[in-house]
Amino acid sequence: MALAVMLLNGASFHGGCCRPKVLLSSLGPLLSNSKLYSSYRRPGAEPEKKLSWQNADFSFKKAIDHLKTQLSLLKKETQDYLKGPGGHALSQHLLEQTRVLWQFRSQEDLNKWVISSDVEIGGKSKVYIKLGRNNQAALLYGTLNTEVPRDGETQYSGYCSMRSRPAVGSFNRKKYYDWSNFNSLYLRVRGDGRPWMVNIYTDPYFSHQKDDLYTYFMFTRGGPYWEEIQIPFSKFFLSSRGRVQDNQHPVWLDKIRTLGFTIGDKVDGPFQLEIDFIGLLNDRAHKEKFAYEAYDKNTPV
């Protein structure tokens, strides 16, 4: 499958690929002959990050409070560990067929998500999120603007995205979701007819694969009625930095970090998506293991 389709340059949420490296700036004079990255900072990119030791706040009381919160998180984790896989009893893990992951009913549910747009590479799209009517849904809305930022490097622009905050355990350790019991994603949304991309990020151990993303499309209808969209995990294809990979593999559901929605359909104009809840479903009628390249690639001649 030689689909090397370039979706959008910078469609990955790691926008600002040419942010200046801090180390490089401190060795600037030494490396002025060969620059590995350009030192141009895109207008929307964050200004130079303060180094972590410059952020140090030597307050004993704050340290004790921080330690107390982390220890209480650790205690909660241990209690959940004793209950069973995922903090629930084993019987729940074995018998469950549906699970609601994110439900948008209050501001703190909204705080579990991060929104971003091509502003970080210098574009002009706008994206906002708020609670919908009667606090029954999240409303993600804004305007897509495909005008390319004039920095000589970017060729495409115009994307907005919403991504769940990665789960963090005690002492800032990474926590992963285990969705291995399920085989489809179930969303109750009300869109405006525009196609969205659903992205699953399985935070890999090595940084070589940090741009790997499993993607599929969510086509919304746009009517006044709510839609319940079911996307089987067998349909998700592997892409890296926005480029669909030649070697396709199914997404392994035992170690998932974040879920995200991106709009980047190259059409200028307003967009709107209301999400009621995002859940998982174990569809017993769905038999497919993986939708792509089901044939044997290495048949002996």
Binding site: Y81, G84, P85, L90, H93, L94, L95, D178, S180, N181, T202, P204, Y205, F206, Q209, D212, L238, N247, H249, P250, W252, D254, K255, R284, A285, H286, K287, K289, N298, P300
Partner: protein
């Protein structure tokens, strides 16, 4: 996989293991270990899935570092004693470095972090090779140097391994990770007795390899990668699920199954060495292992779930089950009565 390539890799694994096991010079032992590491990497990353590649990378990094440490310890010993004989590893620092290097190779705590991830990323048959065949060369090196190793260090590593192998395996839902933690736990039992009676270590290893091979091959025939698949496996091979229950209890070390034999003999030897509290601690810690073995058996045999799955792969088994499973299963369940004979031949 291409049959010729598979032949090369399997032959390399056999070659590497044989070189290490039959060597008297440290360089040959190191050579065999390196050949093993390199030969198994394509088997782990066969499917080229990003997670499989990640597992292969982790395996390579830890095993290469451990081999380098083995070479370093033999080198310091050669510097101090002037010879490279494996059985004459007398310098205490070399023994310490060798113990930690072999602990990294085997997956003893605190060098166990790679093991569950590597096993999770590899296919079930490669997991079997990693758990059994890849443990033999490092164990033989420990066996050959066992008279000069530091017993305290080994006992500490062993108790920590049994503890962590049991504790971390408790909440796993992926069968390969559960088997990885079971392996770590059994390695603890193997390591605790090596300085007192190395033959019991080898006996423990042989019986562990037998039982683990049965479990891995059973899971492979049912294509079971997670607990929920295990629940519905009884419809495909009901008698195999029933035997899996007994094999798992044997792995847990319950009498009257085979798995009880090594534990009994190890506890007896530890008591003879005036280490009864140690024996008590390690026996209590393997109760944690019993919990997750029972959980596996519960999902496979004891409960009948209300649903069957409609996955095509689970509908029917493509090829008939390997008759080797029957032989291995009967051996791993019924060898305890001939324990006196086994004692005379180890």
């Amino acid at each position: 996989m291409n049959p010729q390539a598979k032949l090369v890799f399997i032959a390399s694994l056999l070659l590497g293991s044989t070189i290490t096991i039959s060597s008297n010079h440290w360089i040959m032992a190191w050579t065999g270990l390196e050949i093993n590491t390199l030969a198994i990497l394509p088997l782990i990353s066969k499917s080229h899935h990003p997670r499989a590649i990640e597992a292969a990378t982790k395996y390579f990094l830890t095993q290469a570092a451990a081999s380098a440490l083995v070479l370093f310890s033999s080198m310091t010993n050669a510097w101090h004693t002037g010879q490279w004989d494996i059985t004459q590893l007398t310098h205490p620092m070399s023994c310490l470095i060798l113990t930690s290097a072999i602990a990294m190779k085997l997956g003893l705590v605190p060098f166990h972090f790679w093991f569950p991830e590597v096993l999770q990323g590899s296919p079930l048959t490669t997991g079997l090779i990693l758990s059994t065949a890849m443990k033999l060369p490092p164990l033989t090196l420990l066996f050959m140097t066992s008279h000069s190793l530091n017993p305290t260090l080994l006992v500490i590593l062993a108790i920590l391994s049994t503890a962590l192998g049991g504790w971390m395996g408790l909440n796993q839902t992926q069968t390969r990770k559960i088997l990885a933690f079971s392996s770590i736990s059994h390695l603890g039992w193997m390591a605790i007795i090596i300085t007192y009676n190395p033959k019991l270590t080898l006996l423990n290893f042989y019986l562990y390899a037998l039982m683990t091979a049965t479990v891995f091959m059973t899971l492979n025939s049912m294509k079971v990668l997670k607990l929920s698949t295990l629940m519905t496996a009884w419809t495909k091979a009901p008698s195999l699920s029933a035997i899996l229950l007994l094999t798992l209890l044997s792995l847990a070390g319950l009498p009257p199954m085979t798995g009880f034999l090594p534990k009994w003999l190890i506890i007896q030897e530890l008591t003879k060495q005036d280490m009864a509290p140690t024996a008590t601690i390690i026996s209590l810690l393997s109760l944690l292992g019993l919990f997750f073995y029972l959980r596996l058996a519960y999902c496979a045999t004891i409960t009948l779930p209300p649903h069957t799955t409609n996955h095509i792969k689970q509908w029917h088994i493509n090829k008939p089950t390997n008759p080797l499973i029957a032989i291995l299963a009967s051996l791993s369940i019924t060898l305890l009565p001939i324990a006196p004979m086994i004692l005379t031949i180890i």
